[in-house]
């Protein structure tokens, strides 16, 4: 019917857009698996002994393992690198609530990180405090220059006020 044809181009456009969408979403899957490659499970686990108050002057931690801090607190994760195979290339990283890396060590072989068991959070450049929100500390295994597996993870929360 002639009058039905007037919607035909719109219909074909919508179908074409559906195909384009599938291409974009498949590209997204490729992107995802490029950074989360399959078959990377080693079974290794890093031991994070805790997250403690940290003194930037002495580079020492104190107090009990804690999950809540304020924006004025300095804090650091303590990692037992000996819990990992010596040649395994690893890094410890802090990420703030915006997903920005705010401190870390590595990537280097676990055997070379023995002196860096304390990994503090750094206040971002130009800031006076830590920004409030969720922070995560992750121990990542590296392969071919990119992180491919999380070996340990700790989440802490930083509040606005004391």
């Amino acid at each position: 019917m002639q009058t039905r044809d007037e919607v035909g181009p719109l219909y074909r456009t919508m179908v074409t857009l559906g195909v384009v969408a599938v291409v974009i979403l498949v590209a997204g899957l490729v992107d995802f698996f490029a950074f989360e490659p399959l078959g990377q499970k080693t079974g290794a686990h890093a031991t994070v002994q805790g997250v403690f108050h940290y003194d930037p002057g002495t580079h020492q931690v104190s107090g009990n393992d804690s999950r809540r801090f304020t924006i004025d607190d300095s804090f650091a994760a303590v990692v037992d690198w000996t819990s990992l195979p010596t040649p395994m290339v690893v890094a410890g990283r802090w990420y703030n609530t915006l997903g920005t890396a705010v401190g870390g060590v590595g990537p280097r072989p676990a055997g070379e990180l023995g002196d860096e068991s304390v990994v503090p959070v750094k206040i971002p450049e130009g800031f006076k405090h830590n920004i409030p929100g969720s922070y995560s500390f992750v121990v990542e295994r590296y392969s071919q220059g990119q992180p491919v597996e999380v070996l340990a993870r700790r989440l802490v929360y930083v509040r606005s006020a004391a």
Partner: protein, 452 residues
């Protein structure tokens, strides 16, 4: 309100589908509130405490407002007033939700200021989008239902999904682009489903006011503008809370406002949901079920893909340093979301072209049948928005506001008549075909009464 061309004594089957969908949504909202309360702790509990009554109030206000137009005009004002008060209470409750969610703690003032800053820009966006429908503008009550759904219901539907996905990602994935892609899939899928459901419900329940792809784009964009309004408040308040201690919370919130309410007003959510609406609008005029499914799926998929692409690949766009960064962030919006907005504009132009030529044909046929509803000389004026406006302005100058409003009403009813004829010609009327001309006759009577 004009009855459909073939009014039936019983509700059409699509009403049952709409009721089932609404029921599933309510169950989802209650289940999600229980889950978030149990799993995620005290803050989500408080969100549920204020959020669910807010959603129920929006639903009630919507129902009363829509029903108000089916009632005696003398009673309409009272019902509309009641709906407005309920909607106002719902919005206040929702502002409380936003504040609680973001732990601003000290005040709802930040959320309130953010909301006040977003009202003029969002209102401008709604005005522009509604005007895009050059031939038969959608009624304000349905436009505002779409906006309210996007702002309150859709945002409530996705909070639990986004929060849960964020928790899953933070506990299982390697931080970085892979995690971003995962959360982008979730945001694209759940947010576009939550927003698109409003357009589906309008398509199912208000078929008389949902004519074609143009209407789908208008309703979809309005849902997106509502969602963007509430998300802007949420992000502005959140960013303020993050940077307040550094002394530039207000500046950071202002930047969020600029990028969401000025640069990104017609990009982002308005574009994504307009794509969903376009698919549903095209499906409105397709004869075969499999074609309708493909058109709707195409619209939904491209909306999800566009949303995903922005969230996942934003970080890869080079924005440069220093002064060039200012240009870079604007270019990023234009180059990443612009192509999808261009597609919406293309679909809109195609839809307006189809609609315009169909209305011209129907107006010519109506003028030729001698009913008197449309004179041959009126066809040229009625098919041109510019000439319609000129005619109204001329009447305003010569005879005043009341004559202007009368002519505006006359033009609208004449175009409604042409639209009704178009749907009959395309056999887009539902149910048995007894008396398909009833609505047309009613519209002709109205035109003749206005001309008299």
């Amino acid at each position: 309100m004009i009855a459909a061309a073939n009014p039936r004594p019983h509700r059409p089957p699509r009403y049952r589908l709409a009721i089932a969908l609404a029921g599933v949504l309510v169950i989802c909202l209650f289940l999600s509130s229980f889950v978030t309360s149990l799993v995620l702790g005290a803050i989500p509990s408080r969100i549920s405490l204020f959020g669910l009554p807010a959603i129920a109030l929006v639903a009630l206000a919507t129902w009363i407002a829509v029903r108000a137009f089916d009632r005696d005009p003398a009673e309409r004002r009272r019902h509309l007033l009641r709906a407005a008060v309920i909607l106002g209470i719902a919005l206040l409750l929702w502002l409380l939700v936003v504040d609680l969610f973001l732990f601003t703690g000290d005040v709802p003032v930040v959320a309130l200021i953010s909301a006040l800053a977003c009202v003029p820009t969002t209102a401008f966006g709604i005005w522009v989008v509604r005007r895009l429908d050059r031939n038969e503008k959608e009624p304000w009550r349905l436009v505002m239902v779409a906006v309210a759904w996007g702002a309150v219901v859709a945002t409530a539907l996705v909070i639990w999904a986004n929060t849960s996905l964020g928790e899953i990602a933070a506990n299982t994935l390697v931080p970085g682009p892979g995690m971003d892609a995962f959360t982008a899939y979730g945001a694209g899928f759940f947010e576009e489903i939550a927003k698109g459901l409003a357009v589906v419900l309008l398509y199912l329940v208000m078929r008389n006011e949902f004519d074609d792809v143009v209407d789908g784009i208008v309703y979809g964009a309005c849902v997106g503008l509502g969602f963007n309004f509430m998300e802007s408040i949420l992000y502005m308040t959140h960013i303020y809370a993050i940077f307040a201690a550094e002394g530039f919370g207000g500046f950071a919130a202002g930047l969020q406002w600029y990028f969401r309410q000025v640069v990104g007003l017609f990009f982002g959510h308005a574009t994504y949901t307009a794509l969903v609406g376009a698919g549903i609008g095209v499906a409105r005029q397709l004869p075969r079920p499999h074609q309708r499914v493909l058109a709707i799926a195409g619209g939904w998929l491209i909306a999800i893909a566009a949303h995903f692409a922005w969230d996942a690949w934003l970080q890869f766009f080079p924005i440069g340093d220093g002064a060039f960064a200012l240009i870079g962030v604007h270019l990023r919006t234009i180059l990443m979301d612009g192509p999808f907005t261009a597609v919406v504009l293309l679909l809109l132009a195609m839809g307006l072209q189809v609609e315009g030529s169909a209305l011209r044909r129907q107006l010519q046929l109506e003028a030729a049948n001698g009913s008197g509803a449309i004179a041959p000389a009126e066809v040229g004026v009625l098919t041109s928005p510019w000439r319609r406006w000129q005619a109204r302005m001329q009447v305003l100058t010569l005879s005043g506001l009341s004559a202007y409003r009368r002519l505006a009403r006359l033009q609208q009813v004449q175009l409604n008549l042409a639209m009704e004829r178009w749907h009959r010609e395309r056999q887009e009327l539902e149910g048995p075909l007894e008396g398909p001309l009833e609505a047309e006759e009613e519209l002709r009577r109205q035109v003749l009464a206005l001309k008299a």
